[in-house]
Symmetry: C2
């Protein structure tokens, strides 16, 4: 699914892009590093743009969403490719709830009548847009069924601030159907908030201001969303749990205990359908009531009004609530030294329709990595650790293939995983890097060794300079001073989530982007014709992604000592602690100020009697929270990280006994686990990582220290203090582990 343009995951190398054979590598002896770099250079020459293009034309030739013959054929075709390249590969099947629509109705019933088309027409010069019979109709999977007729209310992006604004305007969505525009969050947040506020139904449309004509020429003349194109997509409440809605925490295998449909809390409470701006325009035109605030206005040629009504809408959705199989392709290159240490790499293969960009643009890079690694094996290279390449099915409806696979193998994954590296959509631009901080130095090092196709700088350097040009003064200072670019914290939106947030393993999410405009996301027009005209049609960024990902995989698979470094983690935790304190201070200032303005009568004074606004509710002023445990825990980690990173650096020159290194590695694989609690986050136990989770009301964007910050957001002060204590214990446990390792390594280095 990935995120379209709006939320950028992360950051990117020194002008020297070709790897310098003499430069040291974390976790390698000098001799091993030299060998490694030779293999890496061999590897980087292999991925072929021509093969990527051919693979895209094969894999995106037909609609291949969950349950299709084309999807299964794709899985089998990839299976054959892995085998051909010398991998030990197989399909893993899970059976998941996957509703598809039988009846969809959106119609304006007053004033006047208008029936929404809910269809995307084929366009000239785009052969796959004509595959009507195989295309999935536009819908939001995991919406509740329903048949409702009610007044319409326009709610902007349909997020919390928007509902606060509606309250100030005296407008309730209770008993109404809301019309929200796409953007600003995971789409599942929109029907969730609408239902929490009493709405009966939810329509989500793509405003041309966000990815339509306002942003660029529309398809087929340009890359942006045409009038009738619809963004399909899941509305599963992923911040509660991803994967099969009926099997949270267990794999959807035959015999698995499944929830009854009525107890699947991740389904929406109200019927929800996505529509095009062609279909939304008559609905918006029929609204009256207050003129929408400036930031709520889109680019349709009309006065955006909020309602409620007089527009009355009939919304009906009837689905087939069937189970369908998903097929993950799982391929292994066994490790020569420690086969029970795994480096996992994945990208999904299912799409909403043809999905040439999402996900095939990333998948074809992964397939070329696999072929290249196979070539190296044929040339004599043997990875120290086991490498697992996965092509996930069912990512679009809710990370189904990856989540079920992680749930199926959770114990092994937790015990064995060195790192999981995810990609998804890939386009021209700069390297986005998100992930868990101990991998920050590793991926920065890799990014310094790969050349940007357009500028011939390293992809690291291009990213750094690009961020400097865009950055604030403080950001620029850090970009110039700090050796490495920070990794963005992981929220959700692709298959990294079960690894990072549920299994609690070191995780990276990478991909290029930022130059190509991409307005056909989740529509029938995301297809090879679009890519060849508007995207990375020469696959130079496909090759760059393959070079970055495969180099990272090799370094992680080959290093004697697992190349984690902890300084970046301290940096990250400090920043997040600072953010949490600022959030509390902001809530305190906001509550005091608001209550003072209520006392002053300022809100009444500022209200225009012809367009009245109402005072907001009085707020309880947050207490001061006891941050000390968390401050002390971060201090302990800082000491431990400094010792560890110094000790590890000293070791890199030495050849040490394998058994010792093996023991340290084993211990290192447990470090990220210390940050997890099997009890999970409050009210969402599936999420075990106490340091980052998708925000409960953002979805894509990460909440850092989620137990703490979301308790503050919800004004649960006692819970916030309890969560501070819990996360402090977790960080202390990790600090103890890291400090212990550092002591041992320090002794060994003497």
């Amino acid at each position: 699914m990935s995120r379209p343009l709006l939320i950028v995951l992360a950051l990117a190398g020194l002008a020297r892009a070709a790897a310098d054979d003499a430069a040291p590598l974390d976790g390698f002896t000098p001799a091993a590093a030299a060998t490694e770099r030779r293999y890496e250079n061999d590897l980087k020459a292999i991925p072929s743009p021509e093969r990527m293009r051919a693979a895209m034309e094969k894999l995106a030739a037909r609609p291949h969403h969950v349950g299709t013959a084309a999807g299964k054929e794709n899985a089998e075709w990839m299976l054959a490719r892995f085998k051909e390249a010398g991998w030990d590969a197989r399909l893993e099947r899970f059976d998941v709830l996957y509703p598809t629509p039988r009846e969809r109705v959106v119609e304006l019933v007053a004033p006047g009548r208008f029936a929404a088309r809910l269809e995307e027409p084929q366009v000239a010069g785009d052969p796959t847009s004509a595959q009507r019979a195989e295309q999935l109709p536009s819908y939001n999977v995991y919406s509740a069924d329903g048949d409702v007729t009610a007044p319409l209310v326009y709610v902007n992006y349909g997020l919390r601030d928007d509902y606060d604004r509606l309250e100030r305007l005296g407008i309730s969505v209770k008993g109404a159907i809301v019309l929200a525009r796409y953007g600003g969050s995971w789409r599942g947040i929109k029907p969730k908030l609408a239902a929490e506020h009493g709405a009966l139904g939810c329509l989500i449309y793509s405003d041309p201001a966000d990815d339509g004509y306002a942003t660029g020429e529309i398809y087929p003349d340009g890359p942006m969303r045409p009038k009738d194109a619809v963004q399909r997509g899941s509305v599963e409440d992923m911040p509660l749990y991803p994967g099969d809605p009926l099997t949270p925490g267990v794999a959807s295998v035959p015999g698995a205990k499944r929830l009854p449909l009525a107890r699947a809390a991740v389904l929406t409470k109200i019927p929800t359908l996505p529509i095009s701006y062609g279909d939304a325009q008559p609905l918006l035109e029929a609204l009256r009531g207050p003129v929408a605030p400036e930031s709520w206005r889109g680019a349709l040629p009309l006065t955006y009004r909020i309602g409620p009504g007089p527009a009355k809408v009939h919304l009906k959705l009837v689905s087939s609530w069937d189970q369908h199989p998903v097929f993950d392709v799982i391929a292994r290159l066994p490790g020569a030294v420690t086969p029970d240490e795994w480096v996992i790499r994945g990208n999904h293969h299912d799409a909403w329709v043809n999905g040439a960009v999402d996900p095939i643009s990333g998948l074809v890079a992964e397939l070329e990595e696999a072929r290249a690694l196979g070539e190296l094996v044929k040339a004599g290279w043997r990875p120290r650790r086991t490498i697992i390449y996965a092509a996930w099915d069912g990512e679009e409806p809710g990370l189904l293939g990856s989540t079920e696979w992680v749930e199926a193998h959770a114990d092994e994954i937790r015990r064995n995983t060195v790192a999981y590296i995810n990609s998804d959509t890939n386009m021209r631009g700069t390297l986005g890097m998100g992930g868990t901080p101990p991998l920050e130095r590793l991926i920065n090092g890799v990014a310094r060794d790969v050349e940007d196709p357009e500028t011939k700088l390293s992809v690291w350097k291009r990213r750094q300079l690009g961020e400097i040009v865009k950055g604030s003064q403080d950001e620029r200072a850090e970009l110039r001073k700090r050796g490495d670019l920070r990794l963005g914290p992981l929220g959700s939106g692709s298959d990294f989530t079960p690894f990072a947030a549920y299994a609690g393993v070191a995780t990276l999410s990478i991909g290029f982007g930022g130059e190509d405009d991409y307005g056909v996301y989740h529509s029938i027009y995301d297809d090879p014709s679009w890519v060849m005209k508007n995207g990375d049609g020469d696959f130079h960024y496909g090759r760059a992604l393959a070079q970055v990902a495969a180099t990272a995989v090799m370094r992680l698979a080959d290093a004697d000592l697992v190349p984690y470094r902890y300084g970046a983690q301290v940096d990250a935790f400090e920043k997040w602690l600072g953010d949490a304190k600022k959030l509390l201070d902001k809530k305190r200032d906001e509550a005091k100020e608001r209550n003072l303005e209520l006392d002053e009568g300022a809100f009444q004074a500022a209200s225009d009697p012809r367009r009245p606004t109402y005072p907001p509710p009085r707020l309880d002023v947050p207490p001061h929270l006891a941050w000390a445990p968390l401050e002390n825990a971060v201090d302990a980690l800082r000491d431990a990280a400094k010792k560890y990173d110094d000790a590890a650096a000293k070791l890199d020159g030495r050849k040490l006994p394998d058994a010792r290194v093996a023991a340290w590695n084993r211990a290192l694989l447990g470090a990220e686990q210390k940050l997890c609690d099997p009890a999970g986050l409050p009210r969402r136990p599936w999420y075990r990582n106490l340091l980052y989770a998708p925000g409960a009301y953002t979805g894509y964007a990460a909440a850092t220290l989620p137990g703490v910050t979301e308790a503050i957001e919800a004004r649960r002060w006692d819970e916030a203090e309890a969560e501070i204590a819990r996360v402090s214990r977790a960080i202390r446990a990790e600090a103890a582990l890291v400090a212990g390792l550092a002591d041992e390594m320090e002794k060994a280095a003497r």
Copy 2:
């Protein structure tokens, strides 16, 4: 002309709105204050909404721009009203250059053909919109004539930042016709900058994002600008000088020395015409080239592109370059004690078409003030000083009537004026207050004594609370702590300019607004029908304006000691000095950062080869400037102001010998003159006030310390230092005057 919504002039009173008869008044003995307050309360009861409505229906019944019979009839009708009310009134005539269009052509000649309509249709239910024969066609007065055909370039608002952006995109407007949208500045800046960048012609259109359908329902269903409505308006280079283009600095009376047309530097260099969004849309649709940056996009249903071309436009303008008379109505109530001290009040009477809002909404309040003051005279009140009420003609083309009158009587005005109080457009909302700081305390006091029609708070309190709700944390703190609301500095856009910036007398600009949306500015639809449906149709804010203005006039006319206070001036100068320093620091940071990024190659790295951007030019790094003279001058004024304000407060209890007070008053009237230099600002000698002027590249918005800040903007460092020295001398001279008076008053108070 006034400014539409976009730029707010100022700020607003304690909950007690009815004047407390026992409260003291600056400049009055307690007994005199009590008498004054009784008269003020009598006065406030007189202005009649019904009479205002009748006056609007009379004065806005027909188009009455400069040179029309209707305009002259209006002047004569007002003359009769003043006389009826007991004023000594007459018309003063000036003969000014006032070109009107004979031929206007705007057409797309490639690709395809489209001829712009350039006409505003009548609308049902709005009788005056049908007065086609008398309406002035839509045009920009003081545009050069021309006949050019050239590729089109879209330049957003056409301001300096926009041209910087174009340069980054590698786009030149040399030899092109630019299409700019209204907003962001005085409209005359747009053709000025276009010509400076080598353009051959300039079109200015009203984008629906700014005052059309995006912002509210369009007329006649709502208040906003319909598809074919055009914003007429002057494009005189007013920041160079306002008034008759042929007679800068002298009155346009018979025999006055007039410049040849070719030497009138305030005329545009290139032909310029305003168009509607109905006419702009086909032009914008025909553009190709880069997609406009997000902040450049308006609300038309199209992809905003910049060009140049392939759209090619033919623009032709032929005008009659005739002289026309303007008729100012000047009415006097002679002062009983010091007739050679004047309190002047003005509002213009000419309009672009019917002009019910602009300017009649303000004018009808002024006429009711005049009637009310006349009633008080009949009841026995005698103002101590002379009161002059003016209804200015020719404001719209360039403050013609007021400027010529001030130029005609400059010596007397400089010598005699206690204050000039201006109004223009008036609507529902909060009281805007701009002006020279010594009047801050006076107008804040008045605003505390007038009731807001909607909330029944004082208009001061409503303004303060409204600002608190909108303000930043720092602004809120000041709003709560500071006794008075600050006056916005005066730029230009109405008749206060010749008083403040040329004559250098104490000036106020007041008016209500902020609630009514006003999208028909300078179109044929600004008429009584519009006001009754969308504006202050019950004239409650007309009455409030009359109450504020007339109360201020009375206090200024009746106080024994002219009620200036200097603390606010120190506050203002300190702030402006801080702003100037920040501007220099910002320029320094910006130059260093840009040059560093050029050295780093960051701009090339950030450029997308498919949509290239070019590095900006290297900047010279500003030197540090010697601020000390200005800091010392402000310190001197601070000491003087403190002494003066304390001494004046002590005196208010006493009855002092008239001759002494008369001498002090005479000296006080010279204080603001000390801030002026007859040599004027660099390159624009008409502007003599060294503390505030309309910004050379903003027009409406004030430049404070204009000699200094504009030299910094233009990177003329030596000039900036020379200007610091000059303004420092001026402030020191004022400080010396004020300190001298304070000493005398201090002695008298012992």
